[in-house]
Symmetry: D3
Subunit: 83 residues, 6 copies
């Protein structure tokens, strides 16, 4: 009788996608551990972007900074790799 | 100092009912484990129906299917039990 | 950056099965929501049988009672279905 | 289909007490919200004393300090209340 | 790769304060346990006042009653401490 | 009255480090949100390495693979950066 809690950022997850998550994770527990779907609960939490932190900052700031780092690495690599 | 988290589907639970849950579960912990109410936290989460899965499907679909199964069993049993 | 918590009863789940759960649920989040595996956490909790309740009783008692009910239904149905 | 998680400090809770918690909280959800016991999960977590903090310190230190404060208040009140 | 969940009552916590919580708790895990910020998740939940119980009652009722007790203690102490 | 749950991998966290986490996160909630320490709970969970997944694999495998990737990048960069 498993209980699964899935937390994702709130960014337009549809009811159809939620149903796919519920079905997929239940199938997984049936396949791997032979659990009964009838006693498998799945609870999905959508978390507002300002409520989710990673790298010590809220997730939106984290993504902006990650993009900046990627761009910077690209600029460092470019002079080396171009002919 | 217990911490209790109660998750239920969001279906019109009133503030009065929440207060009853909070009081009831705190009394239970006092009675069974002699805990102090002053350091007993209860947090209630109401979960949207589309965010709760059971039987591999969202809860509303699960309930519809369960009703169908009950009706089907009724139809199977009826010819046997009627005079 | 999803976070998934899977709670199952402690009944000899192997490290290999846990790795399958971790891989399967991460694949699911990639496929359904296009999430990055690098920022997908999965935490598995094994819960002792005496710590898991369903139907108002600990899970072992629940299973015994469910078997008894099934056997009883079988005995009720048998005289009807036999020739 | 409620899910209830009860966290208490690990201090010799017996299997019988756990069964009382499971039964009591399930009865409460039946009585207050008319929930079905068959789809009510209760999961109990016992937390080691060093893993539980309150008042900014681990719970054992918190209890010692609370006793000291009570004793000190007693000493302050005694000269006032004695004949 | 720590995961931290912070639950507070919903009482006007700003995005700036949330960012401070995320930064502060991540710094703490770096300092005390040498964890990597890149794999440290922080999820903040704001809980409605009617969904949080303490002392066996919802938090607003608890605060009113605590103020009443303090006022009553003040009235008891006053005749003793005044000249 | 905040409730904080800190999950870290079980890798020899000492009671002293746990006390530092409890103190640090309580101080943070006092400083940022003016919360009372007396009603601030902190619960620490140590999670076995095989129970924690990231990148679709258990954490130990993830770390080995991350080291391999770093070594490989080092080998790619070396011929470019050496004189």
């Amino acid at each position: 009788m498993p209980y699964v809690n899935i937390k994702v950022t709130r960014e337009g997850v549809t009811a159809k996608q939620k149903a796919e998550l519920i079905g997929g994770v239940t199938d997984l527990l049936v396949r791997v551990l032979d659990k009964s779907p009838a006693t498998t609960f799945v609870v999905i939490d959508e978390v507002a972007l300002e409520d989710w932190g990673i790298g010590g900052v809220p997730v939106e700031q984290y993504r902006r900074e990650a993009e900046d780092r990627l761009r910077h690495i690209g600029q460092l690599v470019e002079p080396i790799t171009e002919d």
